[in-house]
């Protein structure tokens, strides 16, 4: 037995040693005052450019510190990667990740460095702060600006067909009938990129909250459900309605985000329910068409309470594995991002598509029309609310697939809502919430 145990002990030690050295490869600690920070952002064009811009401007101000930008996949694959790297203590020195419910899923108290004590904490927008706070502690600074889940529409097509921006679902559907008769695809959907399917449900939350103000709180407590709340289930029903009425673009099942942007810009399709940040991509690809594109909130039942559902920007966090000189440098970097200079740096790197979440930061005057439309909603009291994922940690991972099914006529709306209620149960149990 002893003969067997000794080599095992040796082997274990070897494993432990290799694990250590792999983690510290590529670090430049100890060579004078030079510190290199690795900065992980998602691989979208926006994030990569904004990340690079921040890195460049920050290094210029702080000659001793170099920031190296790394990228990761988006979506669930990215979530997976972030969780794995955090759990193995192998995370980059600073990283960008979602705020809201996805932040709660990476156990911030255990894996992140809290930044309450930093001077900029008071300078952050309150809605944003809510979405990066866990158990009363603040964990991140905003990366980019607010977004909204809304309908981007082609104003030229609307003008040609004599249409007005709809405030209720009935007006929306009446517009669609006219557009279809005119040979334009009334609603663009791009189900080959599954996340784009969720806007009729997630972007409807302002309307849900207007009808049922306690929905988010009760939802967290397992007392409100999508399938049984008359206001919430409408998102699924409307997703089904636009499909059943034949209002979708012909290639909705095989189209990707790029195709959707092209159809909207060229006027082949009139309206695209999507995140407002997509306007940046449209501006980059079709600079001469961006003036034709406007934005309006997803219509509900009541024109008086109709408003915009807003997404807090993702945030930059410091993982608990960052220490020593790197931690100091990382804190400086976060302070830079949360300053007006940081906003300017981001705006220069990539045209901003929504208001910044730092007090004292303003948008440039030449932002696209759609961003101005969004600002109008945000400036009007009561005309915007945060999306559900920032008010409740409960969000199911399969909503996008369910929405694709409901939106392609594979599954009925009510069955889809019930399925989603089952889906969120796993997440709530995983988070250890009371009442599940």
């Amino acid at each position: 037995m002893k003969r067997f145990l000794t080599p095992l002990a040796v082997l274990t030690t070897v494993f432990a040693l290799t694990a250590c050295s792999a983690g510290s490869l590529g670090s430049s600690e100890g060579d004078g005052d030079g510190v290199t920070l690795s900065f992980l952002v998602d691989n979208s064009e926006t994030a990569a450019k904004v990340g690079a811009g921040l890195a460049k401007d920050f290094s210029a101000q702080n000659p001793g510190i170099t920031v190296k930008v790394e990228t990761r996949p988006q979506g669930t694959e990215g979530d997976n990667l972030i969780k794995t790297r955090l759990s193995t203590g192998d995370m980059s020195d600073v990283f960008e990740y979602n705020s809201g419910s996805l932040l709660q899923a990476i156990a911030p108290a255990k894996n992140l460095v809290a930044v309450d004590d930093q001077s900029y904490a008071g300078q952050l927008d309150d809605n944003f702060k809510t979405s990066v706070t866990s158990d009363g502690k603040l964990y991140g600074v905003p990366f980019g600006g607010f977004m909204s889940g809304a309908i981007l529409y082609n104003k030229a097509v609307f003008a040609k067909n004599g249409l007005q921006v709809p405030k209720t679902w009935a007006e929306f559907m009446a517009n669609n009938t006219k557009l279809k008769a005119a040979g334009v695809a009334p609603v663009i959907q791009t189900y080959q990129e599954t996340w784009t399917s969720q806007l009729f449900v997630l972007g409807d939350f302002h309307n849900v909250a207007a009808a049922e103000p306690d929905f988010a709180t009760n939802y967290t407590k397992n007392q409100a459900k999508y399938a049984t709340s008359p206001a919430a289930v409408k998102g699924f029903q409307r997703l089904q309605q636009v499909h059943d009425a034949g209002f979708l673009n012909k290639d909705f099942a095989s189209a990707k985000l790029d195709d959707g942007v092209r159809e909207l810009a060229t006027g082949a399709g009139a309206q695209y329910p999507i995140l407002s940040s997509t306007i940046a991509q449209l501006a980059a690809t079709y600079p001469d068409k961006v003036k034709d594109i406007g934005l309006y909130a997803i219509p509900g039942d009541d024109a008086a309470t109709n408003g915009l559902t807003v997404w807090a920007p993702p945030a930059v966090y410091i993982p608990a594995s960052t220490s020593g000189a790197k931690l100091d440098a990382a804190k400086k970097f976060l302070a830079f991002i949360a300053s007006p200079q940081g906003c300017t740096s981001q705006a220069n790197a990539y045209p901003p598509t929504g208001p910044f979440a730092v007090k004292g930061c303003t948008l440039p005057a030449d932002v696209p029309q759609a961003v101005k439309d969004m600002q109008t909603y945000i400036d009007t009291p009561g005309a915007s609310s945060l999306a559900l994922e920032f008010l409740s940690p409960v969000k199911g991972p399969s909503l996008e697939q369910i929405c694709v099914e409901v939106g392609s006529g594979i599954r009925k709306a009510d069955a889809g809502a019930e399925l989603y209620d089952e889906d969120v149960k796993k997440q709530a149990q995983q988070l250890g919430l009371a009442g599940w």
């Binding site: 003969r3 067997f4 080599p7 095992l8 082997l11 669930t76 694959e77 979530d79 997976n80 969780k83 794995t84 955090l86 759990s87 899923a105 990476i106 156990a107 255990k110 894996n111 189900y191 080959q192 599954t194 012909k250 290639d251 099942a253 095989s254 991972p397 399969s398 697939q401 369910i402 694709v404 099914e405 392609s408 594979i410 599954r411 399925l419 089952e422 796993k426 997440q427 149990q429 995983q430």
Partner: protein
């Protein structure tokens, strides 16, 4: 009988086996009984299995896995045998043709998946454009719920039939020529010879192909993930992709439970099948 090796001789292999296979296997049995967030785990008994079996996508996944396994395995046997008979015959450029059939096996699965996704695009893909020129309105191969799984299965067959063919060629070549000569002297037709000589004597090859392709089909994941990600919706989900999605969502305990279930199912199907097919072989 005394072993020819001293005990320490086994130790390196035994250590590798224990650390990389035995420990993870038993660890996974334990973690399948916990709610595991990667960061921490709580013991919750059999709840994961209950949740997993209530997973609505799972029923669909099981049916799809079976369809996928049977369709790919069946087609590989039929096509592989046909191609093997052709490629062992006296035809021109036989060596070249044999390589061509085998080439897809060598290509990366993800590469094949992405290529066929482009080819099968309903509006701009080459396949439907080609069909369009002869007046056929091709379906949405990967976007129509009725066809998505079968389209992926066909690509799997295209990619894997080379290996089946190779095994069949080896089986057919090993049949002594004397049988064919004797049959020919007795006036047997080509079909008689295939039915009564090639088919029964190539049985070991058939067994190998059936088992290999069935196991491959039942645990198939990479091609499906590259082409449809289980979509549209959940319509082409198989057990492995359902498990992967749970893992992606951070439900590590739940997905481990799924893997234990998959392990049990594959064993339950393949072990009796392998016994059955091999017994027949001995009886012959």
């Amino acid at each position: 009988m005394k072993s020819p090796y001293p005990r320490w001789f086994y130790l390196p292999a035994a250590l590798v086996y224990a650390v990389l296979f035995v420990v993870p296997t038993f660890a996974s049995f334990y973690f399948s009984l916990t709610r595991w967030t990667i960061f921490e785990s709580h013991f919750i008994g059999l709840d994961n299995f209950v949740t997993f079996f209530q997973e609505p996508a799972l029923v669909k996944g099981f049916v799809n896995t079976l369809i996928y396994g049977i369709v790919t395995s069946g087609l590989k046997v039929v096509l592989g045998l046909g191609l093997a008979v052709l490629l062992t015959g006296r035809i021109a450029a036989r060596g070249y043709l044999r390589s061509v059939v085998f080439f897809p096996v060598l290509v990366s699965t993800i590469g094949v998946g992405l290529t066929f996704t482009v080819l099968m695009n309903p509006e701009r893909g080459l396949i439907n454009q080609a069909l369009g020129t002869v007046g056929v309105d091709g379906p949405g191969w990967l976007t129509d719920p009725a066809y998505a799984l079968l389209s992926v299965a066909l690509v799997d067959v295209w990619k894997g039939v080379g290996l089946a063919t190779l095994i069949f060629i080896a089986g057919i070549v090993s049949i002594p020529q004397e049988y064919f000569e004797a049959a020919r002297t007795d006036g047997a037709s080509a079909w008689d010879m295939f039915r009564n000589i090639t088919l029964p004597l190539a049985r070991p090859a058939t067994v190998t192909v059936v088992i290999l392709s069935l196991i491959g089909g039942l645990r198939s994941f990479d091609l499906i993930w590259a082409m449809t990600r289980g979509g549209p919706g959940f319509t082409s989900d198989v057990v492995a992709s359902v498990i992967y999605k749970q893992y992606q969502a951070g439900f590590a305990g739940l997905s481990t439970a799924g893997n234990v279930v998959l392990f049990v199912i594959v064993t339950a199907i393949v072990l009796p099948l392998s016994r059955f097919l091999n017994r027949k072989e001995v009886e012959l």
